[in-house]
């Protein structure tokens, strides 16, 4: 049985400013945000013995260690793709639970707005991986090479199978912006939108609209993960890892699948849910607040279905009107605004917000929240996290 429950805790988090141009290198942003996360925890650089980064991140571990004077790492490595934030927590928690490290820092810094990024994995390394080559060979010659295009394929099929439509998807963005409007740290502070604004926004890749899609920004984030024993004496109330899981299933692509029997589902999210609920010993209705992957609004209803908050094909109707997913609703979502209403750092801010909820410090605080759930990587490999007190 999955033994990750209560073996590690997130004790420090930090999120930089979101901006269109940070005017700093990603390495500097990484170092600054790691320092801020350690300060938040009440730890210092010499306490750190593990580093986990996202594989597409430009700041290598050795550059961080030499910049920050970290002298003694016993554990380090990379995690791939959009699922990375929760998957990096899993990797850190496993290391901590096994004793390979006592204090692991997860970090990510992206100048997503100010750096040109047409072809995601070529922008940083200049190298192409096998999955890039597969896309390059069988998808790109037809002009299918943006994330928006890939996701739109799945969304079209989901609409066809379930009858869902823009009048329903639009509530996801509307609620995220409602939450973001109350968050002074985000890009959309005091900038709520209405469903009419959403419906009036331009179609970019039909059936997706501009307001379905996240916007690139420059930002950095970090979390500090340590043992429950060490967590007891630190500055913050620990957010204990109750469940944490990753999933990849047949014919998974980086962003979604075109080839498996039914593409209008997120089976990876379903498997993650099953495993982490079982590990945590809780049910969907026990979760107080959830931070779902909202890089694309229509993927939120699919996650609600896979997580068991509603039945198959009911996710879009569940979101309609917004009442069930906003603060005070059945399952408040993306309470700091998420990718659509706070800013996009590939789901790192979703983990930070779940920690705030457990501490009781969110600007969209769910009163007395005891269990906070996060999903990163909706469409493609997925990962999830359940945090508790």
């Amino acid at each position: 049985m999955d033994g990750i429950k209560d073996k590690a805790a997130i004790v420090g988090v930090a999120l930089s400013e979101f901006s269109a141009d940070a005017g700093k290198t990603e390495l500097r942003m990484s170092c600054e945000v790691i320092k801020a996360a350690l300060d938040d925890a009440g730890l210092v650089v010499t306490d750190v013995d593990g580093l986990v980064k996202q594989s597409e991140d430009a700041s290598d571990e050795h550059a961080v260690t030499s910049s920050m004077g970290m002298g003694n790492l016993t554990y380090f490595g990379e995690v791939k793709w959009g699922a990375a934030p929760c998957a990096m927590v899993l990797r850190s928690a496993v290391a901590v639970a096994a004793g390979s490290a006592k204090c692991v820092v997860v970090y990510r810094a992206v100048n997503g707005s100010s750096k040109l990024r047409m072809i995601p994995s070529m922008k940083t390394s200049g190298q192409m991986s096998t999955s890039d080559l597969l896309e390059w060979t069988f998808h790109c010659p037809y002009g299918l090479m943006t994330e928006t295009g890939r996701v739109a394929m799945l969304v079209r099929r989901y609409m066809h199978e379930t009858g869902a439509g823009a009048e329903q998807f639009g509530w996801v963005t509307t609620v995220c912006r409602e939450n973001g409007a109350g968050n002074p740290e985000g890009l959309y502070h005091e900038k709520p939108i209405t469903l009419e604004d959403y419906l009036a926004s331009r179609i970019v890749v039909d059936p997706l609209r501009d307001l379905d899609c996240y916007k690139e920004s420059d930002c950095a984030a970090a979390f500090v993960i340590t043992t429950p024993e060490m967590a007891k004496d630190l500055k913050q109330k620990p957010a204990v890892i109750r469940g944490c899981a990753q999933s990849m299933v047949g014919e998974t692509e980086r962003m979604n699948s075109y080839y498996r029997p039914d593409i209008a589902r997120l089976p990876e999210v379903g498997r993650v849910a099953e495993r982490m609920f079982r590990t945590a010993g809780v049910r969907p209705q026990d979760i107080d607040v959830a931070q779902l992957d909202d890089a694309y609004a229509p993927l939120v209803p699919l996650q609600l279905e896979e997580l068991g908050f509603c039945g198959r094909g009911e996710g879009a109707a569940y979101c309609e009107g917004g009442d069930r997913i906003r603060l005070g609703g059945e399952i408040p979502l993306n309470t700091s605004g998420g990718s659509l209403g706070e800013g996009h750092i590939h789901g790192m801010n979703h983990v930070v917000e779940a920690v705030r909820q457990i501490r009781g410090t969110s600007t969209g605080q769910v009163k007395g929240a005891e269990l906070a759930l996060v999903i990163t990587g909706a469409g493609g490999p997925a990962a999830g996290l359940i945090l508790g007190r």
Partner: protein, 142 residues
Amino acid sequence: MAMQYIEGIPLLRPYVDHDNKGFWDAIREHRLVFQKCKDCGLIVHRPRPMCPQCLSTERDWAPSEGKGRIYTYVDFVYQNASYPGIQVPYVVVVVEMIEGVRMISNMIEESAEDIYIGMPVEVVFDDIAEDLTLPKFRRVKE
């Protein structure tokens, strides 16, 4: 409306390797083939080094009948969310072939308003450059 490739921006070319060369060689000759396992007979697309069902590395390139139906599609209408080398609007389709595999491709003529999920299509070969042919699709009668 046929797709327009914008001059001066490189065409995106397939990366031909040992795993997929049989597919692209056939396309150059205006034949559509799929990887078929010599041991268990499973047909797959995209080509891959091993049969995902029996792990055999022995394969043939089985001719396709070239017919299928639209499984899903998208319409690229905003250039900044599309490939800069192709003039928007352009449509990318996923076709479910009668052999049971799916292919990503383009429609040769139809615009998005003419396309629906389930629409019957057949393969055509578009010689978009002297040294580059892509398999694309056109509508056929039910």
